[in-house]
Symmetry: C2
Subunit: 458 residues, 2 copies
């Protein structure tokens, strides 16, 4: 079926900013992970909300699928156009519209990346804390309900988006939320849109909460004899109420990958990386109390610093973990898992997963945001060995089932996309049907990212 | 129209726990505020989820309206049965089902009140922080997206409900969320239900986040020469990143009411009441830094204490503010307003409101959760003077419009109910129609709390 008429109408609105070049189409059929899709019919680069609304109205009229695209950093291929149609690439809607220091909020277009935003904020003493590692777009981060290393202190996108402007499936434009810090005025449409992966609307503007850059920061690292010991130390730290800003776990294989990739010299054992935010006194106190807990759990020396260059090096190493792990098996691609379980089940979940991987035919270093109960195995797949991908899928499947069995979720922060769709029925039961009902109500023609997130239409 | 058949079927399920006694019907046609409704046809007291599901299925079959009822403490009459039908009173579903200290969460039935929960938690070192003042039921608090004095530190119900069990309009039972601390697995049905005021389903179980009781607490009070000075001091404290656990404002009229009601001796000027949570060192430090900010803004001496009895007395006085203010005009009823604005507009909003009230014919002391930008005027209405209610409504209307003009919301925490329905169109624009679409999708017969929250069906 051709979308010839739709493309002509779109072209008359967008001119050169509607492209059908082979390179552009192929660039929007790829993802960071192993998923691939056939190329879309066209790629649009809108510059305003009015253009996005016009695009949606045209696509609704011609029943052409529409998929939003941010920075392309998704790990579950949310933005791949499974049914062709139009990819709406937001990279040219990348303006920081208004910074309101007194209110500690900011309004941005969806194509602004988190690093670009924090660069713009530098002079204000404020920052946007949600940090998934990749330099994702803020629109994409909202649509996948992203989180990351700082969630244990600052929350996820769910907690840091005050409101949005959204173009609905029929081209109507709504504003969700207000600039008030809280409201009881009706259904929380902001929360409904966050994590909806482009299936309910296209976000064209976001108002985000900002936080004060802490007066002092301390960060450090500690080796552990076992994963269980490290995880138990985290659990106790949480229960003691010591306010961690980041608490990251890496296993022995990841430590080895860091040594090779970042030129550091870590023992090949599990480690915790931690950060505290506060006053000079409080971060020193927190580090001290944390050091005592580590010692009780068999941790090694706790090496910490408040100096910026040392902290930067530590987190740069952590942020490059995905690439460090990929480099540990040259030529490999990663299938990244993302389960999240109640803290009391975390040690069990990590140990069972490690056992599974050890008994498998592929490597899979483990790391994660243990303060939230969220961890990843980066399953390393040789693209020339189809049996590797099968093995990775088998391991990933067992992890998702384990998470559900332990009261958790198949995806803590990466989203559903293509890879986690098979677990939605098991995770949500009848609730998944309710999601389908909501989708059908807001997108009756099923043109917004069709084939994703909700049950197939009957 | 009679619901005779429905009532017979319900009676066969519930026996004596379906009542039509005059006293019971009338008790469920009253609210804390001035709103009244005709009595419902019957009141049901279910004891299990299965019973609630059975009730819903019967009411759906006979198209009988269903309204959930918690503790009856709502200030906007959310639970009044505007179209008659059945009130489902959850007071007999009041069990704390499971406390999981290691995960710092708890599963409760909806009729458990926040005070009863904290009583049960006493031995665990944990507490549930959301505190709207009244001893509301947790189901009701979820359904109105309640918050209160501790929101500035611990968040509102939006932030503290991990998941729910909900009976839908057709009797299906779903579970939203999981026990994981975060998830990206599809639409946030928990957030959609929170604040839905019984229009999308009846909540039959809640899993709540708990927090560690802080090692040390300091609380204090400070007088100010003007409202603006007090509000400016709060704004600066927030921007300095001093982590307040509570920060409450009361005006001169409220201070006078406290003197008469609680036998205290406050100057008849505006005051701030504040609390810090942390370690003994940190709460002392916070109090000291806060004291410096107060002095810069013309505040009087900052009297603070870490002693429990003094802190208890302070917050008991604050929690009884509604009754203290009511007692300041004997025989009066209160019409309580609830606007919330961006912090930068708070001083303006409070001053304009105070000016309005001073120029009016009724008293209206002002107090609020200024750390969130949320404040209330308790407009005092003599029930024998109809012109008082008109005047209160006029003032309330001007406040709601002011909030919207300043980028805020007509209700920060009390909810929409009957009183704020007229502002939904102005606050949400086309978004309000979207709420109606969602409601129609999940409750096509319009039997769940009809007449509330969403636009009237066309």
């Amino acid at each position: 079926m051709s979308h010839h008429q739709a493309l002509e109408a779109l072209s008359s609105v967008l001119g050169e900013r509607l492209t059908r070049s082979k390179a552009d189409l192929e660039a929007h059929a790829r993802s960071e992970s192993h998923f691939r899709a056939p190329p879309p019919d066209a790629v649009a680069y809108p510059q305003s909300t009015a253009e996005v609304a016009r695009i949606m109205a045209i696509c609704a009229e011609h029943r052409m699928p529409v998929v939003g695209w941010g920075a392309g950093t998704s790990l579950e291929a949310h933005a791949l156009p499974l049914h062709g149609g139009l990819v709406v690439d937001f990279t040219r809607m990348n303006k920081v519209l208004e910074i309101r220091s007194a209110d500690m909020d900011v309004t941005v277009q969806p194509g602004v990346t988190r690093e670009a935003l924090n660069e713009e904020l530098r002079a204000t003493g404020l920052f946007f804390p949600v940090d998934p590692g990749a330099n994702a777009s803020l629109g994409g981060m909202a649509m996948t309900r992203a989180s990351g290393t700082t969630t244990v202190r600052y929350g996820s996108m769910r907690d840091n988006v005050l409101g949005m402007e959204v173009v609905l499936a029929d081209g109507r434009v709504i504003r969700t939320g207000s600039r008030a810090r809280k409201s009881s005025a009706g259904y929380d449409l902001t929360a409904l849109m966050i994590g909806s992966e482009g299936t309910l609307g296209l976000v064209t503007e976001l108002t985000l909460r900002l936080h004060g850059i802490p007066e002092a920061v301390s960060a450090g690292i500690c080796a552990f004899p076992s994963m269980a010991a490290a995880v138990d130390a985290v659990t106790e730290t949480i229960q003691m109420g010591i306010p961690m800003a980041r608490i990251e776990f890496v296993d022995a294989a990841t430590a080895r990958a860091f040594n090779a990739y970042a030129g550091v010299d870590m023992d090949a054992v599990p480690h915790l990386l931690v950060e505290f935010h506060g006053s000079p006194d409080s971060v020193a106190q927190d580090a001290e109390r944390f050091g005592e807990i580590l010692a009780d759990h068999g941790g090694g020396a706790y090496r910490w610093s408040t100096r910026q260059e040392e902290r930067r090096a530590l987190w740069a190493m952590r942020h490059n973990a995905y690439y460090a792990v990929l480099a540990s098996r040259p030529g490999a691609r990663g299938l990244v898992t993302d389960i999240c379980v109640p803290i009391s089940r975390l040690a069990q979940a990590v140990e069972e997963t490690a056992g599974d991987i050890a008994a498998s035919t592929i490597p899979g270093p483990i790391l994660g945001h243990v303060g939230d109960g969220n961890f990843h195995a980066i399953l390393l797949v040789d693209p020339d060995r189809p049996e590797d991908l099968d093995e990775a899928k088998r391991l990933s499947h067992r992890m998702a089932e384990r998470a559900l069995r332990l009261g958790g979720t198949c995806t803590g922060e990466h989203g559903v996309g293509i890879g986690k769709l098979p677990y939605m029925a098991a995770e949500h039961g009848e609730g998944w049907q309710v999601m389908g009902t909501l989708k059908a109500a807001l997108d009756p023609l099923n043109i917004l990212n069709p084939g994703k997130l909700v049950p197939p239409r009957g």
